[in-house]
Amino acid sequence: MIPEGMHDVLPPETAELRAIENALCRRFEAYGYGEVRTPWLEFAETLEVAEDDTLEAGYRIYDQQGHELMLRTDMTVPVARLAASRYRDKPLPLRFFYVAPSIRPWAPQRSQDGEFQQAGAELLGLSSATADAECVTLLCDALAGLGLKGYRVALGTVAFYTALVDALGLPAHDREKFLEALADKDYPLLESIAGNAQADEAALKALWRTLELSGTRDGLSQARKLATSDAMEDAIQHLVEVRDLVDDAGFGDAVTFDFGLFQDLTYYSGVIFEAYARGVGLPLASGGRYDGLLERFEWDVPGVGFAISLDRLHDALEEAGAAPAAAPVCLTFVGGLEHPQQAMELRRAGWAVRALREGAAPQARPWLVREGNSYRLELAEGAATSGSWKDMLRALERA
């Protein structure tokens, strides 16, 4: 038995996941990102700077000195902590990537596993659209490089909403509650807050229209029409710049706009994006700009990044018939345990060899059975040959 929300991974899935991880690592390295690892445990107060509500229920323990520790609930905050504490006097920008599991309380209603593996990249020290575009490009490139077809990256911005909410003219307290309700997509609550606070009618109408028509191809022109302040115009202009740069990099077809995108992580401050593929309802990846996060570690440096959910990406690749080849074909060698020199000879020739005891039943083809001094090789059903060791080597070489 294992705790709820945890799971084992068996072969060949593990090997497929490993192949996906390796391909992603090579992509990240191709853009000059350096791999980091951070500890499972951080001080609770370190993670709490993110002010993310999923943290409240995070797993906490105490060390021998009574410090409150927490199992990390994502990698963005630990990487920000690492950068702020160890790279303060280094030239900017900084580029990091990771492949790592995190743990959150199991939440089946949000389709959230307890433990989940992510591969992600963080670009620190640049606040421009060019940096946002590099991250979106890297994400597209990583997905396309694995052979995933028909995926889409929805591009939105927190800045548009915050500007829109500012135009509502809500008092500070209601504004906070309103943004929270927006993240939860709790429209009735939005209505009641706006009603009670006598929000600006025109701005409110614009908000409903945006929420309703987000995600469409003409969402951009819709949003342009709705923009009633310079801040909103700027937010839209920024997104267009990002999209154009991603287009120049060759991934324009994958990008759509979604002005309804609004994530519940309070540290996002500008561009946000999510990747989707057919057959997987949940986002494969999500990311965005978090300019205020490093400031919470007393280092005023902007950042942008994303994380890919390896399980969901694996599902999407399977759905698209593009799951990476797992382990190489393995040759079962009955008698190989007693004759390791022969097993080694086959391995040196490039075969993966699963050695069994003499007389054991060979379970999966291809198999090679040693019987006394003669051998029998069956590469596939009905494709058997018998003979000497040399015959076997020749037959295997041809296979």
Binding site: S111, D184, K185, E212, L213, G215, T216, G281
Partner: protein, 205 residues
């Protein structure tokens, strides 16, 4: 497009089929549809299913769009985009108790039976009243059965209860809504807008 349609207990409501057909969608077959079937007409596939399954199918990317009651959307808090109020199946989630003075003493934490435990907890939590929420599908029967004196359920079900119930509060107005999961929203934005544009005038007409 594959569209999940919540059937409730009694199949697809005729008024919903009317709205869909007025919008030019091939919905005639839905009128006689029983649950658990795939009904393909042209490039539209209808899937009549329970409301919870329609939501799960939308969240998991199996349905490109879904039609479910707002009551379920409020209760399940599912991660879907609510695109359009279809104006069909208008009802309300209400709090009701037996008419007349309360029998026996008023408890400091009154019991409330409901098929919507989360909506109920949220509502009473927000208004500061303490109640004991009892999940019970046929909530309108609960007072007559002695399970709980209070009921949170649809107005239509409360009105048909055997014991005369009086509505004390309206918690939320509900009706059938067109929804889409996040993936469909990103991958099929144009198709969804086309669907919205067909449905919007027919709903108003």
């Amino acid at each position: 497009m594959r569209i999940g349609v919540a059937t409730g207990g009694a199949g697809v409501p005729a008024a919903l089929a009317d709205v869909l057909e007025a919008a030019g969608l091939p919905a005639a077959a839905l009128r006689t549809a029983s649950a658990a079937a795939l009904i393909t007409v042209g490039d539209t596939t209808w899937v009549p299913a329970s409301g919870a399954d329609v939501l799960a199918g939308c969240v998991r990317g199996a349905f490109d769009a879904g039609i479910v009651g707002k009551d379920l959307l409020l209760e399940e808090d599912a991660d879907v985009y609510e695109l359009l109020d279809l104006g069909v199946g208008a009802d309300a989630i209400v709090y009701a108790t037996p008419r007349g003075p309360a029998a026996g003493r008023v408890r400091s934490r009154p019991r409330v039976a409901t098929p919507y435990p989360r909506v109920t907890r949220r509502h009473f939590g927000a208004t500061g009243s303490q109640v004991e929420v009892i999940g019970f599908g046929a909530a309108a029967l609960a007072p007559a059965l002695g399970i709980a004196p209070g009921v949170v359920d649809l107005r239509s079900r409360v009105a048909a209860a055997p014991l005369d119930l009086e509505v004390r509060e309206e918690i939320a107005a509900v009706s059938l809504r067109l929804v889409a999961g996040r993936a469909a929203h990103a991958l099929l934005a144009d198709e969804l807008v086309a669907l919205l544009e067909r449905l919007r005038p027919s709903r108003e007409g």
